[in-house]
Symmetry: C2
Subunit: 356 residues, 2 copies
């Protein structure tokens, strides 16, 4: 990193929404971080600029061929007023990994981390302080070249925008109902399911809609090849506790390598729990259920941290997990991670980064 | 259709590029057709407006979750100066089909066809008249709501932009070299490969790059499940002539239902040729090749109409087709279709629509 980040202050500052009004992804702060790419110049002109609309030609490649990628992480306010990031270098690495698959030139990871930190420093007052709230951070890249041929763009924009978000849980962790999807497929090995590119999410909308119409909160995807093996939930990885051991699908080339997933695995191992990253047949989950051995199911992701699963519906086999109550591991993991994120517990893994 | 299309004339008209400079998708005309959608109002405010940049919030859903879809067709200049469209109603139907899969509210097909025709009427002078040139038409929809949650957008923009394009072939049809891709996958049944959504194209870039690095023009995709069955080429469907019969992959839920494909099938049938829409194993193509029965291979799509294939490389088995020369059917189909498109032959199928 040897580029200087320019700062262009916003003239007018927006009023900050009340904690009770936050919700998710509706409000945006006063500034954003921007980097431009042109083929001849590489990534250039790092700057923090007023949050403002983007002006793009109608033929900009992003609108037509979906060359866009993103990340999602959060900044947390501690009780003594500091601001912490959780493993941000992992997100930046994953972003570059995604870029590679999507033919987007890689970013200088150090510069992005520096830009991210400077941006949050400037927007520090936007990090809410009510229990469970946070500042959601959305880095993303879009292809900007005005051209209609199918090929990688010659110009891109990288942005980081920030949105204060409300607590995911009102009080206790509330279990969700999950529909195991048999027809629609999210991704397949050889495709792009293991990276964070926009098209994966558009492709998931119809199945999510179907699940909601059937009274479920989210979809659990099965593998695209045989519809036999468990993949992941909408924006979460999935874990099963069976007979005291914990199972999660291994990174097989079609699921996202979640940072919460990684943290959960590290924590469980640290606690002496066996974690098996394997290919998991949904049939085996059902068998464990019928034998009374399916003790807990939970999703992991930046948004909810841990999302206990109360019901799994697979082919109309309804599996009620742990009496539709939050399990012991779900709760313990949730507190362990959020206590580190909010600076309430000792960060023995060195996961947090404090904003100066 | 009961909405009036408003016309807002451009103040300044751009100079028109020379036929020799056209290329593909680089120049855009003076006007575009626009429709807006809001949840409360439906699709509204149809208008022809000056071609101009779009202004979108950085959080607009299209940038993050890829909810965008498109179509591609052309307007052709006849020798006596008229302008013809080729089966435009098929593109509008396919667009609505794509919308359904991608959770985008359907369009009024009549209104879109009317808007398309009025737009081209106004831009008539932009339809080039040199042999093989045409006016490329790009209808597309983007999700515009500023929001970071993963769900269908509550607002969209539909646009039609126009780009004069050069002749695909300089003179004769030139055969292409095709790399049969074994690792990367484009689509799978249950996914979105059968519709024209942006993410499919972003997902294809890396394999295309690999093929080019290996000295090939384009990729032939195999099925995502077993990598055994032929699917389609980058932006083309594929046909094989074996022992006098013509084979093409059936519409299996992961390939696009090409309008050129459909026209080719209708023409061949009209000529008394047997066309088999089947599941086609690449192994069987190779067997036919070794027996000397693989007589012709060609791609079909709006851009090239017919693209003869001179070489297929499957696992380093190089199949040289028809001596790397354009085959009889390729040539005959190319002329039959382009003669209808350019008004040189009687349109017995009623495929063309003349712009008033
Ligand atoms: C498809 C998908 N899987 C899993 C996750 C969980 O990843 P993380 O724990 O890094 O938030 C996300 C969210 O980022 C996701 O979009
Ligand atoms: C993936 C794909 N397959 C096939 C085609 C050919 O379709 P059409 O003949 O309608 O142009 C296209 C181009 O539109 C395409 O993008």
């Amino acid at each position: 990193m040897n580029q200087v980040i320019e700062l262009i202050q916003a003239d007018v500052k927006k009023p900050k929404p009340k904690a009770s009004e936050l919700g998710f992804g509706k409000y945006f702060t006063d500034h954003m971080f921007v980097l431009d790419y042109e083929k001849e110049k590489g990534w250039h002109s790092p700057r923090i600029a007023p949050y403002q609309p983007l002006t793009l030609d109608p033929s900009a490649l992003v609108f037509h061929y979906g060359q866009s990628v993103f990340e999602g992480l959060k900044a947390y306010r501690t009780e003594d007023g500091r601001v912490l990031l959780f493993r941000p270098e992992k997100n930046v690495q994953r972003l570059n990994n995604t870029c590679k698959r999507m033919c987007i030139p890689p970013l200088d990871e150090e510069l992005v981390l520096e830009g991210l930190q400077q941006l949050i420093e400037i927007e520090k007052d936007w990090v809410p302080d009510q229990e469970g709230t946070s500042l959601y951070i959305r880095p993303f890249i879009i292809a900007t070249e005005p051209y209609l041929g199918v090929r990688p763009s010659n110009s891109y924009k990288f942005l980081i925008i920030l949105s204060p978000v409300g607590a995911y849980y009102a009080g206790q962790l509330s279990p969700v109902k999950i529909y195991v999807e048999n027809d629609y497929v999210r991704a397949i090995k050889g495709g792009v399911g293991h990276v964070k590119t926009s098209g994966n999410y558009a492709a998931s909308l119809l199945a999510q809609k179907k699940a909601e119409e059937l009274g479920y909160d989210q979809v659990l995807w099965l593998d695209g090849r045989e519809r036999k093996y468990v993949e992941e939930v909408g924006s979460m990885n999935i874990f099963f506790k069976i007979n005291g051991e914990v199972f999660t699908p291994k990174l097989n080339g079609s699921i996202l390598s979640g940072i919460t997933r990684d943290s959960v695995i590290e924590l469980l191992k640290d606690w002496g729990v066996t974690v098996r990253e394997e290919r998991i047949a949904i049939e085996d989950i059902y068998t464990a259920y019928t034998k009374g051995e399916l003790e807990e199911v939970f999703g992991t992701g930046t948004a909810a941290v841990i999302s206990p699963v109360g019901e799994l519906n697979w082919n109309n086999h309804k599996m009620i997990v742990n009496n539709f109550e939050t399990g012991e591991f779900s709760l313990k993991l949730y507190h362990a991670i959020t206590n580190i994120q909010y600076g309430k517990a000792h960060d023995k893994f060195g996961w947090t980064v404090e904003i100066k």
